[in-house]
């Protein structure tokens, strides 16, 4: 009866077998002149696709820049970027394919810790260095992978430290006395805000409200209403994107403007934030940033110019994910320049020592891939996002207290 | 000896619409009792109450001396009360044989046994032969004609060796030859000691087959008696012609 179906299954299996066996034996890199193929799986569809595309632009921009200058050690850089649809299953398949089927020379990381962990383990298994522009959550570093390097100034959780330092730098009578914490339940935002809370409590800032909210919460009004009723001096929010916008909108509707408003993410998006919350409502809001328009860090000016040339827009319209991805490439270029070699072993051993200048500042890594620098504090002033702390990078002095909504 | 089935003062309404109003009925052992009445008089509702598919609002149902007012259909089926449906509910994707086997009832232990074992097949084959379904025994019921499906459902209820069978319009929509076949089977089984309660529209069939006849109108029992008396009874004429 359905002998045919059985046959189909067998034939399929046999086909798979043969294609599997006949996959190229592959030459293990090293020939000068052959292109340097770099593989990365990026979320071009699905939940993380926005940042995924920004990451793709950053990688591409770096590759173009390097190739225009003759490539790396004479080898043209060739990117192979595939989509993981924001799926942890697909990301594993993709890195397997990149490493074992397409035999890429190097791998770059995907977007988000959630995908980076399974992906980095695949890379580790085959001895590939894994440089990722995203994936700075605590769980990532708990993996203790020696091939992993998080290309940002500090682990995400510590990106609020700069804000704490800023508060502590204020004279005692100008510090906020009370603070409310609204924390998005995801691998970064909530731990980040918790980290800030612990440090501020230790410094004597009283916590009057603390609440974690799930990521699918569309309506933050109930929570912001509860916060507004307590009238805290500071609102410290561990946010991602949309929730940051919603928080501000709710506060505007509730007619409550705290004297300090810190949002860990979203508010540092130069184009979207004013677009979503209204330009008049951005004034005085604080946020951490690694790269910002007008940064004086190494390569930043070139990057900005190249970005605008290739993708249009202004410096203000560049997503910092692109800058972070670009920095990943910068690190690779630097390794090649210093060691005159470009293989995974060299990359791994080199990066565990010394410091590496990038457009995000100078980076160095501990054994588990955690960077040991610090973020910058940026603030919205007159419609522009300006670094205000620490003084070494500040382009303006911090505005405090935050003015009322609408300017 | 007590009657096989006693329905005593059963009422049931749907929302504000009464379907049965204090209806009573008795089925004597080894009778072929007809239940007739105009459309919407509550015949099918009464069937459903008797078989436990519907719960009565008030009143009692006794079967074989036991109060079964709140019994579930499965329990009644195991006690020997089975029924057919007006639209012949058979399992369309099961074969004729399987339709019979599944109606045969089996315990937990047998659940893990073969789908159709030798004993099942033996019992089913007897019925298949009796009902002349041999040619289609291995076909899914969906392939049968309407009349064949009615026969199949009738045959299936016999698998559980019932004492009382409720037939809901056994001859509706089938050809004259099949009506005769149905009558033949009912007589044959009656002779073998099975009691019938039949809802039937075809008065000729009722006259030939049944005694007594119970007439239901607007949810009430209005007449019980021999078939000859039905036609002359004023209340019955009223019910059929008047309303």
């Amino acid at each position: 009866m359905s002998k045919r179906n059985g046959t189909v299954a067998v034939v399929t299996a046999a086909l798979l077998l043969t294609t599997g066996c006949s996959s190229p034996g592959g030459s293990a890199s090293g020939d000068a002149g052959a292109p340097l193929v770099i593989g990365a799986s990026v979320s071009l569809t699905g939940d993380f696709s926005d940042s995924g595309k920004a990451v793709q632009r950053g990688y591409q921009l770096w590759a173009d820049t390097v190739n225009a200058a003759g490539g790396i050690l004479g080898r043209a850089v060739q990117l192979k970027i595939v989509d993981d649809a924001s799926s942890p299953t697909q990301v594993v398949t993709n890195y397997q394919n990149l490493i074992n089927k397409d035999r890429v020379d190097l791998t770059f990381g995907p977007f988000s810790t959630l995908l980076t962990i399974p992906a980095s383990q695949v890379a580790k298994r085959y001895g590939y260095a894994f440089l990722a522009p995203a994936g700075g959550g605590p769980k990532m570093f708990e993996q203790n992978l020696d091939n992993y390097f998080f290309v940002q100034p500090a682990p995400t959780v510590q990106s609020g430290d700069v804000f704490v330092n800023y508060v502590l730098s204020l004279p005692a009578d100008r510090r906020p006395k009370t603070a409310a914490y609204a924390e998005l339940d995801d691998p970064f935002a909530a731990p980040l805000a918790e980290n800030v809370r612990q440090k501020l409590e230790a410094a004597g800032v009283r916590t009057v409200y603390k609440q974690v909210y799930p990521s699918e919460t569309m309506d933050l009004s109930p929570m912001m209403g509860a916060i507004a009723a307590l009238r805290p001096d500071a609102i410290i929010a561990g946010t991602q994107n949309e929730d940051a916008y919603s928080q501000v909108k709710s506060l505007v509707q509730l007619k409550f403007s705290p004297s300090v408003l810190f949002q860990s993410n979203g508010a540092n998006s130069p184009m979207e934030f004013p677009d979503k919350v209204g330009a008049g409502n951005t004034e005085g809001i604080l946020s951490p940033a690694d790269w910002f328009p007008g940064s004086k860090a190494p390569g930043s000016a070139d990057f900005t110019a190249a970005y605008i040339k290739k993708y249009g827009g202004t410096a203000q319209s560049i997503d910092d994910s692109s800058a972070e991805a670009y920095a990943v490439g910068q690190v690779i270029s630097a390794v090649a320049a210093r060691t005159n070699k470009i293989d995974n072993k060299t990359i791994i051993s080199s990066l565990h020592a010394g410091s590496w200048p990038t457009l995000l500042g100078t980076l160095s890594w501990s054994a588990n891939g955690a960077p040991s620098g610090e973020f910058n504090l940026v603030q919205w002033q007159k419609g522009k996002l300006l670094p205000v702390f620490p003084a070494s990078v500040a382009q303006a002095s911090p505005e405090a207290p935050k003015p009322a909504w609408g300017g | 000896m007590t009657p096989l089935l006693e329905v005593d003062g059963v009422s049931r309404s749907f929302g504000s619409v009464p379907a049965l109003v204090n209806a009573s009925l008795t089925v004597e052992r080894n009778s072929i009792t007809a239940l007739i009445g105009p459309n919407g008089s509550g015949k099918t509702t009464l069937f459903n109450v008797i078989t436990g598919n519907l719960r009565a609002d008030t009143g009692r149902v006794r079967f074989d001396g036991h109060d079964v007012t709140t019994a579930r259909p499965a329990a009644l089926y195991r006690r020997g009360l089975s029924r057919t449906y007006q639209q012949a509910r058979v399992f369309s994707q099961l074969t004729v044989e399987e339709n019979l086997v599944v109606a045969g009832g089996f315990g937990l232990a047998q659940l893990f046994g073969r789908r159709v074992n030798r004993r099942d097949r033996q019992r089913a084959t007897e019925l298949i032969d009796e009902f002349r379904l041999g040619r289609v025994a291995d076909l899914p019921a969906a392939e049968l004609s309407y009349g064949q499906r009615k026969l199949l459902e009738f045959a299936a209820v016999l698998m559980s060796s019932p004492t009382l069978i409720l037939l809901d319009e056994p001859t509706a929509g089938v050809n004259p030859v099949l009506i005769e076949t149905m009558e033949h089977h009912i007589r044959r089984l009656h002779a073998a000691g099975i009691t019938f309660l039949i809802v039937e529209h075809d008065m000729n069939v009722v006259m030939r087959l049944c005694d007594p006849v119970v007439v239901l109108d607007q949810g009430r029992e209005i007449f019980t008696g021999p078939p000859d008396a039905v036609r002359e009874h004023p209340a019955v004429l009223d019910a059929y012609l008047g309303a």
Partner: protein, 335 residues
Amino acid sequence: MRMRRGVGPVRAAVFFLVLAVAPTFGLAHWLLTMLVFTLMFAVMASAWNLLGGFTGYPSLGHVAFFGIGAYAVVLWFQHHDISSGYEPFLLLPAIGLGVALVGLPIAAIAMRTRADVFAIVTITLLFVGQTLAFNLRDITGGAQGASIVPAPFPADSYEIPFYDALVVLLAVSMGLTWATMRSKVGLSLAAVRMDEDKAAGIGVRVQTVKLLAFCVSVGLTAMIGGIWAYYEGFIYPQFAFDPLISVAMVLMTFLGGRATLWGPVLGAFILELAQQYFAYSLGGSRFYLIAYALVFLVVILVMPRGILPSVRDRLWRRGRRRIVDAQLPAGDGPL
């Protein structure tokens, strides 16, 4: 039911033999990885079929049990160290059994509702599971996710233990399906699917077989969840309780053919391989979703009963026979 004796077992033996020896031919890692994921879905589709296919209760919440299985492995690793790396596999039967028991009261409530409402109630299960995974931080790690120590298998044969475990589970799942089809459980389930009230009325043990199908089905699903978590090395509520996994099980079963032995497996091999391959090679064109949806629609509209039944029908058209879980009777067409 007179089946053509021998053909079924021979086909199964060949299939599993090919599966079992395939890795010894030195399949590339990328291919083994794809096969591992494909086998996961084959088992899950086959398990889903036991409930959704045979009973006709379309569960859209099976991934809730997948997630429970995944977190069970995580929990186990919180209290135990890894040594040989095989421990999670040995743990699987316990997970399957445990989740089957957990499923029992859930099934008893959910199966009070019928087809469409049941589908929705099971969706609810999925979200309850996800919310619990997010919020029971002490157990699950919440939104931080939970990581598992990577298996200490050598890189050369890293996928093999996972692969072998999955082949065994597929054999178990298909074996159970086969046994169901041949036993009165299958007969009863078919009756439930076609007319549950009538079946209950004639004394079919409706409740028993429904609950049985549900528990076995979710138990198998949970075991796959456990393997998946171990293979991924890191789980996160949104991934462990991903509605798309539920949808995939349903889709594969429908594609291959409901209430058939081979249909769900065929569906899984086609869909999962195609999906993994195209997402990789087409590099995330946004038309991917549209293409997927269109294939889905065309399959349902053109072959509403799935590939296997439709193909069989076409081959045996002169028999004009409908095959669902009733195997085709032998012989030539009706007389």
